[in-house]
Symmetry: C4
Subunit: 218 residues, 4 copies
Amino acid sequence: MNARSSADGKRGWLSKTRLEAFSDGVFAIAITLLVLDIAIRPGGSPLDEFLSAWPSYVGYVVSFLTIGVAWIGHTALTDELDHVDPVFLRLNLLLLLVVVFLPFATTLITDAFGDREAERVAATVYGVTMLCIRLLGIALDRYSLGAGLYADRDPDVELSSFRRKDLSGVVLYVLAIIIGLVLPGIAVSIYFGITLFLVIPFRELGRLMGRRASAVRS
Amino acid sequence: MNARSSADGKRGWLSKTRLEAFSDGVFAIAITLLVLDIAIRPGGSPLDEFLSAWPSYVGYVVSFLTIGVAWIGHTALTDELDHVDPVFLRLNLLLLLVVVFLPFATTLITDAFGDREAERVAATVYGVTMLCIRLLGIALDRYSLGAGLYADRDPDVELSSFRRKDLSGVVLYVLAIIIGLVLPGIAVSIYFGITLFLVIPFRELGRLMGRRASAVRS
Amino acid sequence: MNARSSADGKRGWLSKTRLEAFSDGVFAIAITLLVLDIAIRPGGSPLDEFLSAWPSYVGYVVSFLTIGVAWIGHTALTDELDHVDPVFLRLNLLLLLVVVFLPFATTLITDAFGDREAERVAATVYGVTMLCIRLLGIALDRYSLGAGLYADRDPDVELSSFRRKDLSGVVLYVLAIIIGLVLPGIAVSIYFGITLFLVIPFRELGRLMGRRASAVRS
Amino acid sequence: MNARSSADGKRGWLSKTRLEAFSDGVFAIAITLLVLDIAIRPGGSPLDEFLSAWPSYVGYVVSFLTIGVAWIGHTALTDELDHVDPVFLRLNLLLLLVVVFLPFATTLITDAFGDREAERVAATVYGVTMLCIRLLGIALDRYSLGAGLYADRDPDVELSSFRRKDLSGVVLYVLAIIIGLVLPGIAVSIYFGITLFLVIPFRELGRLMGRRASAVRS
């Protein structure tokens, strides 16, 4: 609760409690605002209207899971920190700035549906937003390492698994952005795929299955 | 405040503090966004306009109490947990995804008022949303039991009362969804009824009355 | 952070931490959504347009301070609590339901400006909302006393000052609602007056002035 | 978590935990609502439409960083506090009232783009809002000093750097408001400049560079 409890006189050290509270708030609001982007266009029977809004629903689910995964990554990163400093606060602010932009990028995509030119613009904006989230996540991690903000590193935690996924994520996002300039639909599918890959807890599922297998054997 | 304080080196264990903060934020925002769905359609005197928006008010109250009850259930569940793990984080994310969808389902219902076909679609979407909230709540509970996330179980707490209510809830929601395909108005009344049943603290009222009765006797 | 830490085996006892976090979230969102109700109607020069929206600004300030005062009262009440129980959670949910309704009531008032009939409806809805906030605050306090939720009462804290202000508030709100049926403008002025009265920290200002006076004397 | 733990019987002392939670919530929501102000006006190709909304993006970034800097300043201030009192709560409420107004002022600016008269009104409203945020921040600091709310002052922390920046900020804002009456575009550029100046962590960058330089030398 108190900056000095963990910082005892060290200059520029700040408590991470409020950083977490503020970030949790921003993530929670950005993820919840996504529902405002679900829009049903009039025309046809009520059932047709509801079903024809499917791009809205896909956009909602993908963006929700993307922000959710970004939040999980943020949690994994700050859980490891001993304290934060003014530079970390500001890098974190930039990350939040991009996360909050995601609902707007999602609206672009769902509004563009059916207009190839608009799809191309929307897919690019969406891809660049996703790429920036990932790059700023990596920047926060690198800065924390360099500035000695981490408490004591346990390399075998969720964070490290995120770090490996991060790198493949960056390459995939760059490829998807380039593909999206020509085939926006495929780029959006790739974004969905990356998010699903990050959401599905492969390691934990493997561990659980292993545990059950050994329980059966013994 | 710190993952390691309760997790001391156990792999994959995460602090539940930020999960609770993030979830509280999402529940709080979803419940507050409901007020944006209250809309008054012009026509008639100001009093008529205000009163004729009654479906908005009913939808607001029902959805508010539904999200409120889901939040109370979430609190009861996570209060019992010792820690969380990556799978729990992701199941929780799915639960929030459906909770945040509820304000949209509410708008569908209040907009559909008077158009039987639209009412049928809206009642089904609303019912399926409510059913998913309940099913994901049960999934979180079952997973926590199986993965050993609970601290030590006291079977006689609010949670267990929720669990019993959960099962009857699932059956009732499925019935209401089927009924809603024919008689959407009755389905919506059932949703209102289930929510009221979950909101009214029967056990506690009974206990309080019992306490007063024995106070009178002694 | 943990229900059992303060509740050790006592049935039906719940931690107040998440109640506070959830309530803080709802209060914070309701108070922030008020800004969405500020609307400028086109017509005239940009300066005229901006200035002619003054009822929006007054409504924003009054509602902001009203929710702020309700939050301060909520803080003062829960600070005194040792724990909460399921009935308290539900009463609190009803209080939040009414607080979240306030931004809608504010829109009614600012939209009604200039139409006497609409002003009467809006002033009544606003007054009843404010009255309900106050009544539910009193209900929470009474229930907490009766159910033994308070830790140990210090009668000379902000809470007691709120309790006295509460009673005068109820009487004033009822009077203002009745007046508003005839003279809505005067009722709205009374609501502004009550809120200002609750916002200005008379006791503390008096204490500060007393302290300065004695400092001058000595 | 508890008012009495740090206040032990001292009248009018309140815990700062809920003040921080509520303020974090309001800052987080206000900063996130900014994305709703990004609007694309139809006309031209999808790429032209997206690019021609650049004033929206600039407004989003400037306002996001402004609220972010205000939040960092708020954190630095309350981190230093031992407790809060009713007057502080109310001054803080006024600060939040102005912070929440900023998204509206941002919409004014982005909507005014191209209409000189509207730009003048918008630049003035925006500048006065920014000035009030700064003045209320200074008022909170001065009051906390006078009322003995600070735990023990370490003059060489972020706070003091904010205090020096505060004063230059006030002078610059007043100048920019005056300039904005004639040349609104230049005033808006100044607001962007002040925010950038406050966001860039000069001291910390200097310290980091110094550390690296001495590491190279040794």
